[in-house]
């Protein structure tokens, strides 16, 4: 779990203007590690994630994943999987279809693919839920299904945008555990945007603090938690 792992993410001098808001990011997310992206609301956490996922194209600078330049690539061509806070599943499609789309985007599935879908559901604790519609599941179950899709996608990078923010505190704990387990099994690179200091402590190997559209601090988690000289960070950690 060091920066030399192949699927590390490097954001070099990336500049972006959205309307009147300016962003300038320069940071590194070590490969094979979980990096927490934190900061006050509106600071640009999600924008950084969108840049890595490819939903925003930088005005300047370069983004590379695992050493190769992805700055100009379409989101589908980047080696990443995504989990949002909500709406991770198409509400009108059953779980098998939702997850199957992660394997083949035109849903041409072999029996082997179907088996993988069932296994992934099993793995996240939703065994036998293939035909269930997202509307019939609880919020936690829907997020588990999203994890199952990330599993079958087998992409080296997993980006999570406040994935547990809509869940009850008890549920967050168990979801965080599931995330950790999956991370250990796959050894993937994880970037998680979160508001929750507890989550940062529980999950992260590494953390970024974003403020006013810039990376105010990036550090190993032990160092990150000790720092008292970054404005705003103390309030955040004490919360």
């Amino acid at each position: 779990m060091t920066a030399s792992e192949p699927s590390g993410i490097r954001v070099q001098n990336v500049g972006l203007t959205l309307g009147t808001r300016k962003f300038r990011f320069d940071c590194e997310l070590p490969g094979g590690a979980i990096t927490a992206i934190t900061g006050p609301s509106g600071s640009g956490k999600s924008t950084l994630l969108n840049l890595i996922a490819g939903f925003e194209t930088p005005d300047s600078g370069k983004i590379s994943i695992g050493g190769s330049n992805v700055t100009a690539l379409h989101p589908s061509q980047r080696p990443v999987s995504l989990v949002f806070q909500d709406n991770n599943l198409f509400a009108h499609l059953d779980l098998a279809t939702n997850i199957g789309l992660g394997i083949h985007p035109a849903l041409k599935l072999t029996s082997g693919d179907r088996k993988r879908i069932s296994e992934a559901l099993e793995r996240v604790g939703l065994g036998g839920y293939e035909k269930r519609m997202p509307g019939t599941l609880s919020g936690g179950e829907r997020q588990r299904a999203a994890f199952a899709r990330a599993l079958v996608r087998q992409r080296p990078v997993l980006l999570l945008d406040e994935p547990f923010a809509a869940l009850d505190p008890g549920l967050r704990q168990s979801m965080a555990r599931l995330l950790l387990e999956l991370h250990r099994e796959t050894g993937n690179t994880v970037a998680i945007v979160t508001h929750d200091a507890g989550e940062v402590r529980q999950l992260a190997d590494h953390a970024l603090f974003i403020d006013h559209g810039e990376v105010a601090l990036q550090a190993e988690i032990e160092v990150f938690l000790m720092r008292r000289d970054v404005p705003g960070l103390t309030e955040f950690l004490d919360l």
Partner: protein, 541 residues
């Protein structure tokens, strides 16, 4: 939350409006049914009547199919290209046909699609000798698509805009090809809307009057509405008017019944032009085909409007604006429109208050509940019996009491007020419901009643929806030819009637000039109404 007196006033008002509207419609229908038309020695439903029914359904079916089938790819293209130049204006353009008087739209369409119109002249220049005909079935279809494609497109677009933005990011991230996006994202979003939209468009086309009157081209291309009008004004054949009216009611009743079973397509104002970021329209092929489709649709919708403008500005306005008959027509039109809109609003508010009073009673009994349901269906009742049928009935009722044209202004006002009622209700009732929900408890708790409540609490919030409803109802009434055509005489000249009669008597330049004035008037009203609404939306975020 209402005082007892307020509740009782609510019941009473609801009763009066309900009785008034029901009587107004029922008397007309009864008059029709019991009119002694003498023995015509003819079956009530002869071959001609059945053919009209067949044509009415055929043209409405084809118009619906074309409008919806073309609206779908247009809505998809507009949703896929959020950065298309002038996209917001294109979406606003699609609100224009709604506010444009049908007669004026027909004029514009003739300017483009007529034998000597832009399109056929162009075709002739490139050697195509068989021109597209704006008369008969093809003309009716073109015109119905012109008016209903934008409506369908806006409703579909609204459905697409309601999708969570994550869906587009997911689709992009999963690398869904465009067909998969259609199959898994877009189609599931629009599919539940299609039936309701198709029902609405079918209803509008099946009861289309002015377009068929102007573009019909004879008995082969006549709808029930126009045939009723003709059987009365052309033939004075009440027997036939009755059989046609019965068929018309049967048709609208079955369409309404079917529509009641379908999900409603939602608010057509929902298409705000705001759109989620899309990541799938960027390829040059997608941009090319979407662009072609959007540009063609814009041309189709814009050219007739341009034609109205171009033909209109050529008119001799100095002369037109000094013609006494013009000012008389403006005066009559505006009075009728204002009266009709006010009556419509008053009726709508009374119905809304009555329903609120009924809902407010602690234990609403079966009577209260069914009365509330009846009040709610009142605006459908208005749709059930088309204006031309109501007009025909009242015509026969009033005939024994002297010249019908004396009552004409009042009847036109009433019919226009009825026609506007469903639209007014649609604007006002959600606004009133939300407002009541937000303020009723507080106001009652603070003891704010009567005029103070109106001034401080109700009007500041409700003035925008009221203005929207008023301007929309006025625009609808201003552009109406149907009711006026039935009673129209030299004593009752409205602007659309002026345009129509100028058209008939060779004076096309004058007609074009008046048409432009009328179009600007109606569009101005519609824009004023919807602008207020947009502000309100922004306010709420």
């Amino acid at each position: 939350m209402l005082t007892k007196a307020e509740r009782q006033r609510g019941y009473a008002g609801g009763g009066v409006v309900f009785a008034g509207i029901t009587l107004f419609i029922a008397l007309a229908v009864i008059a029709l049914l019991f009119f002694d038309s003498g023995d015509t020695g003819r079956p009530l439903f002869d071959a001609y009547v059945w053919r009209i029914l067949r044509f009415t359904l055929l043209q409405a079916g084809l118009s619906t199919l074309l409008s919806v089938a073309l609206a779908l790819p247009l809505a998809l293209a507009l949703a896929r290209q959020p950065k298309f130049p002038g996209r917001i204006w294109i979406i606003r353009l699609m609100a224009v046909p709604m506010g444009l008087p049908v007669l004026i739209g027909a004029l514009g369409l003739i300017g483009i699609w007529g034998r000597t119109g832009v399109l056929n002249s162009g075709l002739a220049m490139i050697g195509v000798s068989d021109p597209v005909s704006i008369y008969g079935l093809s003309g009716i279809l073109i015109a119905h698509v012109f008016f209903n494609l934008p409506l369908a497109c806006r409703l579909l677009l609204a459905g697409l805009e309601r999708l969570p933005p994550e869906y587009w990011r997911l689709s992009a991230s999963l690398g869904l090809p465009s067909f998969s996006v259609f199959r898994f994202v877009e189609w599931p979003a629009v599919k539940p809307l299609l039936a309701g939209i198709a029902g609405l468009v079918f209803m509008l086309c099946a009861t289309s009057f002015t377009l068929v009157l102007v573009l019909g081209g004879g008995p082969a291309a006549t709808t029930l509405e126009v045939a009723i009008y003709q059987s009365l004004r052309f033939d004075f054949d009440p027997a036939r008017a009755i059989s046609l009216s019965l068929l018309q009611i049967a048709v609208t009743a079955s369409v309404l019944a079917l529509m009641a079973l379908l999900p409603t397509p939602g608010d057509d104002n929902a298409a705000t032009g705001r759109s989620a970021r899309r990541f799938d329209g960027g390829s040059s092929a997608a941009r090319f085909w979407d662009g072609i489709f959007i540009v063609l649709a814009v041309l189709f919708l814009c050219l007739p409007l341009v034609s109205i403008l171009v033909a209109g500005v050529k008119a001799d306005f100095a002369r037109l604006l000094t013609t006494p008959v013009f000012w008389k027509a403006v005066w009559t039109s505006v009075w009728i429109a204002l009266m009709a809109a006010m009556i419509s609003l008053a009726a709508a508010i009374t119905i809304i208050n009555a329903r609120a009073a009924l809902a407010d009673s602690r234990k609403p009994g079966l009577t209260a509940r069914s009365f509330s349901a009846l009040l709610a269906s009142l605006s459908s009742l208005v749709l059930l019996v088309p204006p031309v049928v109501i007009g025909t009935g009242w015509f026969l009722l009033l005939r024994p009491y002297g010249e019908v044209s004396r009552f004409a202004p009042l009847l036109v006002v009433m019919i226009n007020a009825m026609t506007a009622l469903p639209f007014v209700m649609r604007v006002l009732s959600p606004a009133f419901a939300i407002h009541r929900q937000r303020t009723a408890r507080q106001a009652t708790n603070l003891g704010v009643f009567g005029f103070t409540r109106l001034r401080l609490i109700d009007l500041p919030v409700l003035k925008t929806p009221l203005a929207t409803a008023l301007s929309f109802a006025m625009a609808l009434s201003l552009g109406d030819l149907g009711a006026v055509a039935l009673f129209g005489s030299e004593d009752l000249v409205t602007l659309p009637w002026l345009v129509y009669s100028r058209l008939g008597s060779y004076r096309t330049a004058d007609a074009d000039g008046f048409a432009l004035i009328l179009a600007l008037l109606c569009l101005g009203l519609t824009i004023a109404g919807t602008a207020g609404q947009r502000d309100r939306k922004d306010e709420r975020g």
